[in-house]
């Protein structure tokens, strides 16, 4: 599919999602979103897993709206509208995922420039291209940083090393003053607070 057609379809879908807010309308749009994912050869479950960072916001909105200060403490009627809004937002994002995964960056850039003519379109196109490309770079950087943190225990509570029982860890053959001779045993035991310098 031509990227311009994809953009138009995406915009039409978003418009429809905000017009047809009834459960029946959203059910039909769910089918359309599933078709979009299938066309992009994406697994719905994997796509939802990729969007898990959105989950707290999408869930929090209806929960907060439904809360009441007195009995019955939670109003389903009050939560219904925000719940439908959260769901339609999720559908729109899923269709966007299908677009992003199935469209090369340069084609997105060209489509945006076609959609918005002139200098604003060029600037927007450059912005879209940079954002899409940088997301992959940022993701790789994040993965590297997380690996570095994990390698030096930065992803866990602070742990204390238990005193080392001499000879218990095979230090007998080591030369005098070797590093192993004063090492504590390695025990996974969290401590209650970080050290003063942390």
């Amino acid at each position: 599919m031509d990227p311009r057609s994809k953009l138009a379809a995406q915009a039409a879908f978003a418009l429809a999602a905000f017009v047809h807010t009834t459960p029946r309308g959203l059910l039909a749009l769910t089918g359309v979103a599933a078709l979009a994912l299938a066309a992009a050869r994406l697994s719905p479950l994997a796509s939802l897993a990729d969007l898990r960072v959105l989950a707290p916001f999408l869930v929090a909105l209806p929960l907060l709206e439904g809360l009441t200060l007195g009995p019955p403490w939670f109003s389903l009627a009050a939560a219904r509208g925000p719940a439908l809004a959260s769901y339609r937002t999720l559908l729109v994002v899923l269709v966007s995922v299908a677009y992003v995964r199935s469209t090369p960056v340069r084609e997105s850039r060209a489509a945006v420039q076609w959609l918005v003519p002139g200098r604003p379109g060029r600037v927007l196109g450059v912005g879209v291209a940079l954002a899409f490309r940088n997301l992959a770079v940022l993701r790789a950087d994040l993965t590297r940083s997380r690996r570095a943190l994990r390698a030096r225990l930065g992803d866990r509570p602070v742990f204390r090393l238990e005193p080392h029982a001499p000879g218990a860890r095979g230090d007998a053959g080591r030369p005098p003053g070797a590093r192993g001779g004063r090492r504590p045993a390695r025990v996974d035991r969290p401590v209650s607070r970080r050290p003063e310098n942390a």
Binding site: L153, R156, V158, D171, R174, D188, P195, N197
Partner: protein, 241 residues
């Protein structure tokens, strides 16, 4: 001791490690070699639980790594191929202190470890310098210091000589030899045996996710290495005779 048993690790449908078994004793200097894609980096990342096995088991000092990741990461210090992948802070001292701080040590002990680790890599007194202003060789030394500050039993270095010029390679190897002499087991991952072959007790070559060769370097001839996809250093083992 690091013990790997029947380890399988898959990336999608491809098995990077295919039922690999290996034991590394305390204090050993092991060179882990193999062509690109043979599973070297994947294997060492299992040593301290940075990856989870699809099948098999990894133990450090008799404890399963997946159940005792902190013990494993304290016992096995990891230095990644690109030193910049190791850093978590902007300055040398803050980065080297990161590991000991996460062990809940007091300030004096953290300072002692940082000082000793920096001295071990010839970077003493440079704790306040910014890492991004150091040369590549100096960054490699800081990365090693960050691992050493955990006082590991085993130091695992993934391609520690890549990108270094000859003096820096020589200096790095001399430091590793000194650490090994002090009792720290050392595992060096490399695809180039030229500089390390004379310094190791044991050469392990991986091929297609399995151990294809495990021997003392003196027992290995160049043709065998070449057949396993590893460039043989001149005058290696029986070739030298």
């Amino acid at each position: 001791m690091i013990a790997v048993r029947d380890l399988v690790h898959r990336y999608g449908d491809r098995a990077a490690l295919d039922g690999l078994s290996l034991t590394v004793a305390d204090g050993e200097f092991v060179v882990l070699a193999g062509p690109n894609g043979s599973g070297k980096t994947t294997l060492v990342r299992h040593f301290n639980g940075l990856l989870d096995p699809d099948e098999g088991r990894v133990e450090v000092d008799g404890r399963p790594v997946d159940e005792h990741p902190v013990a494993a990461r304290t016992s096995v210090g990891m230095v990644f191929q690109d030193p910049r992948d190791c850093f978590v802070a902007a300055t040398v001292g803050a980065d080297v202190a990161f590991g000991p701080e996460n062990l809940g040590l007091d300030l004096a002990e953290v300072d002692r470890r940082v000082g000793e680790a920096l001295a071990a890599v010839n970077m003493a007194g440079r704790g306040d310098e910014r890492i991004d202003e150091l040369s590549g060789g100096e960054q490699a030394r800081v990365a090693i210091a960050g691992a050493l500050a955990m006082e590991p039993d085993h130091l695992v270095l993934d391609e520690p000589l890549a990108g270094l010029d000859w003096p820096a390679r020589r200096a790095t190897l001399d430091r590793l030899a000194a650490l090994h002499a002090g009792g720290t087991g050392t595992v060096v991952v490399t695809h180039d045996l030229r500089d390390v072959i004379d310094r190791t007790d044991r050469l392990v070559v991986l091929r297609e996710g399995r151990v294809a060769l495990d021997a003392a370097p003196a027992e290995v001839d160049g043709d065998r290495l070449a057949g396993l996809g590893v460039r043989p250093p001149r005058g290696t083992g029986r070739d030298a005779a």
